[in-house]
Amino acid sequence: MATAAACGACAMAGRRAAAAAPRAPKKPKQRPAERGGAGPGSTGGSAPGAAPLPPPPPSGRPRPCVRFKCGLTGPVLDVLSSRPGWQQAKDEEEWDFLWCDVSWLRENFDHTYMEEHVRICHFRNHYELSRKNYLVKNLKRFRKQLEREAGKLEAAKCDFFPKTFEMPSEYHLFVEEFRKKPGTTWIMKPVGRSQGKGIFLFRKLKDIVDWKKDGGRTEEQKDETQVETYVAQQYIENPYLIGGRKFDLRVYVLVTSYIPLKAWLYRDGFARFSNTRFTLNSIDDHYVHLTNVAVQKTARDYDPEKGCKWMIQQLRQYLTAKHGAGSVEVLFADMDNIFIKSLQSVQKVIISDKHCFELYGYDILIDRNLKPWLLEVNASPSLIASSQEDYELKCHLLKDTLHIVDMEGRLTGKEKRVGGFDLIWNDGPVSREGNLGTLVNGNFMANTHLGTYSPSAGRVPCSHPFLTKRRARAFHLRTREQGVWTLGLRVQKEQTFSKSGCKQPDCRSTVENKHINVGETTLFIALLFKF
């Protein structure tokens, strides 16, 4: 209990006791016993024992112990529990760090007083970005604002989401748009649901009329008066296919502050493949509820079997092999633009609170012209692991997130890269070169490395082909491999740096092969035509 008591003491160092209306997380009336006599001091600092309250520690100073509370299991809990110096808070105990789901937020956030050092993994109104209709609303407004302030060209950078209308409120606008483009496919998504539930495709207005009459309600909602809000979105009919399969990308972006906007982009991510071959034939004339198989194509969290994922590095390589480095760089720069613009669109709407941070899961679709489209943003991306590799990725992601949230106060604030995260926005674009805050002249290179290998990260860059069962073992070897890998590199580096240039193959030289000088082809011309 000694450590627990120490934790209690460190919490007391906070401002809680001095606050006008002190509220402990959850139930303020029942305080844990181990805080002993200090507890009553919360009634305004008048208790004699607690009179000379120590000043709150500056947020940068390390604290002896971090008490966390976690509403989830799986990688999140594993990472939190295994973090040195972190302890899980007991049921009613106070906490310094909370990883909760959004429903907790809805019920408790407004009734919870948080000390300055406390961190929580969501922003109060996270749904401004994660609910499909709000996202669209915010993006549309931001686009208009940009057009006013910076002109059409800048506003066009926001055109990364398909034409979308909120239903039923924007039904008439939708019909107008629908009539303009006959024959296109539209998709209806309920804004509040996830994992592809309630999604359907349609091509005819008749289908939507039926839906409207029906109120878009499911059976259990029939008696309720409120109509479930949907968005009608133009369906992307030409997705980029690999091996005939459709896929979407999951990319992680961490926001630690909205004012000023500070966003970090994670290097790893993955492409999720559908198990079926893509075709548009599955839409017929009727009001189509997609069959299970078809839902797979659109369901965001669909993971039919382990291994239907590529690491984003593999995808980047594949695309480079097919389309060249140039177009792939453009594609990834366009994706960066999506992250920034979507965050900027809610910057003024999100209630900025320095207790909050948020890890967003972006879902991106690439079309055949290598243009990325924003499908949706998840404020609570699935952090359940589907395989060993997935588990590792998510553990690294969470560890790095905690490094940046920095409860321990170890960062200087000047870091541009922490673990697999690169700082992509710090109240303005971040340059790859130079230190944070210095202006770089000449070519500006954005500090983004999505889908590039980070050799120092020490993890499997590519999934291991062949069956997964072999994978669990032999991981301990990796540290050694890093060693030799850098050795190889060092040898190379010395050589590269010591010479002005590397030896190039002399491609002009004629290659001699088995007595025949291939350069002498005239001989063959002569022989072939019997000159």
Partner: protein
């Protein structure tokens, strides 16, 4: 021994003979005819003018590439007095061993047919043909019941055969002595030692820039990568096979690899090549062969299970089914120790893991016809050597021996330790080499390795890499006490970086 001059003329005669039947010949002829209408072609200097015309119009380059390709694929001719089978394999006992191995495979295939009472080949009914044509691009969605089929053989079975190979003219006694080879391969073949390998693979040395090392995140691209990419583009612009082959020894930039490999293999995907592919396709649609089921089974067991290659399942069926019906593949049997099975199964009998030869190529090519041609060319140049018994330096027997010799010479303690605990190194590394490391390495690393295979026109690099992997994990391997534990240490190669390993093993190890 053949004197160089007559050898040269024999080679020339053979190449001319082969080119005369090719479409390149008729194309050249057509071009020459067309050129006659050009004003710069004069009657008095006809020959010279046409030669000049072919030179300037780029056709000479094409011919040059074709000649170079022939030289790469076909071995230099034997003495005219030598019997024709010497071209396939000069050593009689190797030929014999290959022969009886083929007989065994066929027997097992036949017994499977009888057991399952299925025909080796039959024409599909029209309805089935139509169905197959409709789902040609999504054959992977089909789930035929293949539980009764089993792969004809796995690399392990093949290793048993190689271990029992003996040279009848060579007495090596029963008792192991210091003169004996302590490994599993007991045939005396000449394999290279490190100084020779260093000379052969001189471009992999420490003083040469290398993709797979010098393009890592820590090295600024100005030092090597940018210039290397620029040279690569120049090579492509020149359309010179020989230059491309030299170039890829330092590795292909990802974006140029597809084109460079096609250039080296002299694949241009002409309309007639596409037509040829379509013919094969229609053959697949008309006839149902027993091999098809074996191919299905293999893809389902290997590539479809693979975390990375599963996406390419449909391409694999298309390529492999066409491959099983391609009679031009038979040409390689003139210089392979293997002999095509008579009558019903033409060409190659797939073994467990065969589809992994194709899978990495799907990463580079997406038009099925081009993918097919690249694979076919890779097969008849390299991969067939990995599952036929021969004395060729790139043949699997030599690779095994090279691997064991390297390990025995440079890591005698490790070799001895593993041998003592019953974990003969070759038992672990054999499957890597038979599959050319496909499915074991991460894709980017595998392609860097195959770059070197193409660049050096040799598979020896596989044996060197296998030895380097052992050397790399030697410390852990010295601690194991069983074959299973040794296998566990070497189970996951997906984290390895190929080029640093090769380089350290060949150039940075004190010998």
């Amino acid at each position: 021994m053949l004197d160089p001059d007559s050898g040269l003329s024999l080679t020339i005669a053979r190449i001319v003979q082969r080119l005369q039947g090719s479409s390149l010949h008729s194309q050249l002829e057509r071009q020459a005819r067309v050129s006659l209408h050009k004003p710069e072609i004069k009657l008095e200097s006809l020959k010279e003018d046409i030669k000049d015309f072919l030179k300037t119009s780029g056709w000479e380059k094409k011919l040059q590439n074709a000649v170079y390709s022939e030289l790469n694929v076909f071995p230099s001719p034997c003495h005219p007095a030598a019997p024709p089978e010497h071209m396939k394999e000069p050593l009689a006992y190797m030929r014999k061993a290959q022969g009886s191995w083929e007989k065994r495979i066929l027997k097992s295939l036949n017994s499977m047919c009888t057991e399952l009472s299925i025909p080796l080949a039959q024409k599909r009914p029209a309805s089935e043909q139509k169905e197959l044509l409709n789902k040609w691009n999504e054959m992977g969605t089909d789930e035929p019941d293949l539980s009764l089929f089993r792969p004809v053989y796995a690399p392990k079975d093949f290793l048993e055969v190689l271990m029992n190979l003996r040279n009848p003219n060579y007495e090596n006694g029963e008792q192991p002595s210091f003169r004996n080879h302590l490994g599993l391969i007991q045939v005396p073949l000449k394999v290279k030692d490190i100084p020779e390998l260093k000379e052969d693979f001189s471009e992999l040395g420490l003083n040469t820039g290398q993709l797979g090392i010098d393009d890592s995140a820590q090295v600024p691209p100005e030092f090597f990568e940018n210039e290397h990419v620029r040279v690569g583009q120049k090579v492509l612009a020149e359309q010179d096979s020989a230059a491309a082959q030299q170039y890829v020894r330092q590795g292909c930039p990802t974006a140029l690899r597809a084109d460079l490999w096609a250039l080296i293999l002299n694949i241009s995907n002409q309309p007639e090549d596409i037509l040829y592919y379509e013919q094969l396709k229609s053959n697949v649609i008309q006839y149902d062969l027993l091999v098809d089921s074996l191919i299905y089974k293999d893809v389902k067991l290997t590539a479809s299970n693979d975390d990375y290659y599963f996406v390419f399942e449909d391409y694999l069926y298309q390529v492999l089914l066409c491959f099983s019906r391609d009679t031009s593949v038979l040409d390689h049997f003139t210089y392979s120790s293997a002999t095509p099975p008579k009558s019903y199964i033409r060409g190659v009998i797939p073994f467990h893991g065969f589809s992994m030869y194709v899978a990495p190529l799907c990463f580079l090519y997406h038009e099925p016809s081009k993918l097919y041609q690249i694979f076919r060319e890779m097969y008849v140049r390299f991969f067939f050597r990995l599952h036929s018994i021969s004395s060729h330096p790139s043949g699997i027997v030599s690779l095994c021996l090279l691997f064991e010799t390297l390990l025995q010479t440079h890591l005698p303690q490790l070799f001895y330790h593993l041998r003592e605990i019953g974990a003969q190194p070759l038992r672990i590394s054999f499957k890597w080499m038979v599959r050319a490391f496909s499915g074991y390495l991460a894709t980017d690393q595998l392609l860097l390795l195959w770059d070197r295979i193409l660049g050096y026109n040799s598979l020896e690099v596989l044996a060197v890499l296998a030895a380097a992997v052992f050397a790399f994990r030697a410390v852990n391997l010295m601690e194991v006490t069983s074959l299973a534990a040794a296998e566990a240490v070497l189970a996951d190669l997906s984290t390895l970086k190929v080029m640093p390993l090769l380089q350290i093993f060949l150039f940075a190890t004190v010998t």
